[in-house]
Symmetry: C2
């Protein structure tokens, strides 16, 4: 078995550990998470690492440098999953980091390496993502700890139920004081590398994101007795706007804009829709471009409504600024791949990652691995062995040539 | 109080009788229906009519002609309502018919008049409309009687629970053998008369109707990581089609086409919709035009899908042919209105009515009364007193000049 095949094998083995038999569903601090810990800690200790579990349930595994007062490099990703997930989203970054350390054998390095397997990234259990990396950067608040899951259990109580102590989070979850850099390897979760026939990309930035809910209010009328000229059809207005969202985003470099959900009211076959609620998700690597796109699209919604006597109200639901990754580390990753004999693309991440939470605190970089079919958050999610070899060789080369005080 | 105001007053009084306190909801064979019967039968008997309740719970009230073997004219509408209804949809036709008979006093006529207050037209309780008029025309089948309501009660049992006998339907519900004509007065339930500033219209035909469910199947993808050029967005395809449905129908005389409900799957804010289910309701007074419109719109759905790698499947859910009303009776109604000093428009009914069920069996006509604001199936549904006077005067004139063997 090749070293890449072994990584894939471990990811698939971990994917068998699930809260729901027959699929991969491993929620934050769930019973299956405890079993996943057992297996991961075993692999980590086999590799000679010092391991511990912090008080949000993230695993921490350290390879000490022989240098006194050596600073620390983080290799991180997450081990929770969405419901009915694939095997690679999250665990790949942890298991590939471990494999890289195994490949180093006793090669001395001028820095410690800490693998962090974050316990919460997907936001499923408490309807809020990045809880572990927020804790690691001192951003987890009492409000977060008071959030409840679908059974009414608070985050603080879930931590206690797992045998951990929410009062010790500040102490046990904090990143090492002497961190100088952080790297996350993650599947792309999109079709771009596959479309470019490429294995790897270095992430330049994580896009900013605006989410809106739009309400189109017209007038519900009888579908048989109301002539077309006397209608105020909220759905026709929304439809004209949805077509414009697609057309505009397609014409604007690096912009993605999505209407993911539409609800019609009253929603009867024989009634002209009087009200439509629609969502809008807009992402772009430059915040100014995103703001301009949002302004354009909201204006177009009003215009589509005005043609039909339909009013439009838009409510901002959430907004996230674009987060640039560290430029010097990115260059270093590109060079490492080149030395290892692999080409790397540059791209933006359209999805959020823990890297985005760490980046304001530590120089952070991300390496994307091709997602065949662009498939993600799906049991058929997969990776190619050749791409895993490329990623592993790149990370090893990155470690061998990285100097804390460059 | 004017005679028109008295009709309105009676409709509003009847609307107080409801299965749900504080609104007007009177379902087929419900407890409130029994109370409504009590009041209506009292008014009918006060007017000197012979009354009975048939075995689908419709009220039948007869004014006998002095002529031996006189044929019978039906004046009909329905007394069930949709949930949270207005006071006039249905009851107006019964109460106005009664008022017309009251106004005749002892004027001899060469025909009997039978008022039929159908107990079921709206289709709410058994998710199937026109059950009473189907019974009256011998079209009620054992399958209809086996239909169940939301509590699992069959129609046959509901009839028994009301103290009636489903085995006697053929006998007690049949229209009188010597029927020669039928007239239904009903609110327009649409905005056409109001837009034309007119009180009354004679209905030329009830439109034909096709109902489809369309499924657009694309591919669900991550809204952040999937570039616009690599999407197969089922909602964008559906939206382009919905805009075309509106545009095409608006450009085609007498056509109405409605997309009343859209559902997006998975329906998450951050996922490109992989599937959309949409309804289509197409109506036109000429069946060939309706078929041509349907063919055009389904082709356009496929074209909107093809642009995006989205497949479209259309399933016919129901189809109803256009039903012409009796031309000679319609002329007679126009003339009656003219003699009474009122103008009448001609129009098509975009909604279904019991008249459509009777028309293949008896020469049938319908008189529409303006619906202010086009409002219907809504507690604010109303009528104008001047329009009710116009309708009453027209019906009285119609009765006074109608000859069974014209």
């Amino acid at each position: 078995m090749t070293r890449a095949a072994k990584i894939i094998d471990r990811c698939r083995e971990l994917a068998r550990i699930s809260d729901v038999p027959g699929e991969t569903t491993r929620l934050f601090l769930s019973p299956a998470t405890r079993d996943a810990h057992t297996l991961l800690l075993w692999w980590m200790r086999q590799a000679g690492l010092e391991t511990r579990t912090d008080d949000t349930g993230s695993l921490r595994a350290v390879r000490r440098s022989a240098h006194a007062n050596a600073p620390t490099l983080l290799l991180f990703s997450h081990i929770d999953t969405v419901p009915n997930a694939g095997p690679f989203d999250g665990p790949l970054g942890v298991i590939l980091a471990l494999a890289a350390i195994e490949e180093l054998h006793n090669t001395p390095l001028p820095f410690n390496i800490e693998i962090v397997a974050f316990s919460e990234e997907e936001g499923v259990r408490f309807s809020f993502p990045f809880l572990s990396s927020l804790a690691a950067t001192g951003q987890l608040t009492p409000e977060h700890l008071a959030r409840t899951d679908s059974e009414g259990i608070t985050l603080a109580q879930a931590i206690r139920n797992f045998g951990l102590d929410p009062d010790c989070i500040a102490e046990t979850c904090a990143l090492p004081a002497n961190c100088f850099a952080a790297l996350e390897v993650h599947i792309e979760q999109g079709p771009v590398l596959e479309a470019d026939d490429a294995s790897l990309a270095v992430v330049e930035a994580i896009v900013g994101q605006s989410r809106f809910q739009l309400t189109f209010e017209g007038q519900a009328n009888h579908a048989g007795t109301t002539p077309m000229s006397l209608r105020h059809d909220a759905l026709a207005a929304a439809a004209q706007w949805i077509v414009e969202v697609e057309r505009y985003a397609a014409s604007y470099t690096q912009l993605v804009a999505t209407v993911g959900r539409v609800e019609t009211f009253p929603g009867a076959m024989n009634i002209v829709p009087g009200k439509v609620i629609a969502t809008l998700d807009v992402r772009h690597p430059r915040d100014e471009s995103r703001h301009a796109a949002v302004a354009h699209l909201l204006t177009k919604a009003e215009a589509a409504g005005a043609l039909r006597g339909v009013t439009v109200h838009a409510r901002l639901q959430s907004e996230q600024k674009a987060v640039p990754m560290d430029h010097a580390l990115a260059q270093h990753l590109h060079q490492a791949a080149g030395r290892a004999g692999f080409a790397t693309h540059s791209m933006f991440s359209g999805a959020g990652h823990d890297a985005m939470i760490l980046a304001p605190y530590i120089p952070t970089t991300m390496l994307f691995v091709r997602s065949p079919g662009g498939l993600s958050h799906h049991p058929d999610e997969t990776v190619r062995e050749q791409d895993i070899e490329a990623a592993l060789a790149t990370v090893i080369n990155f470690l061998l040539h990285l100097h804390p005080h460059r």
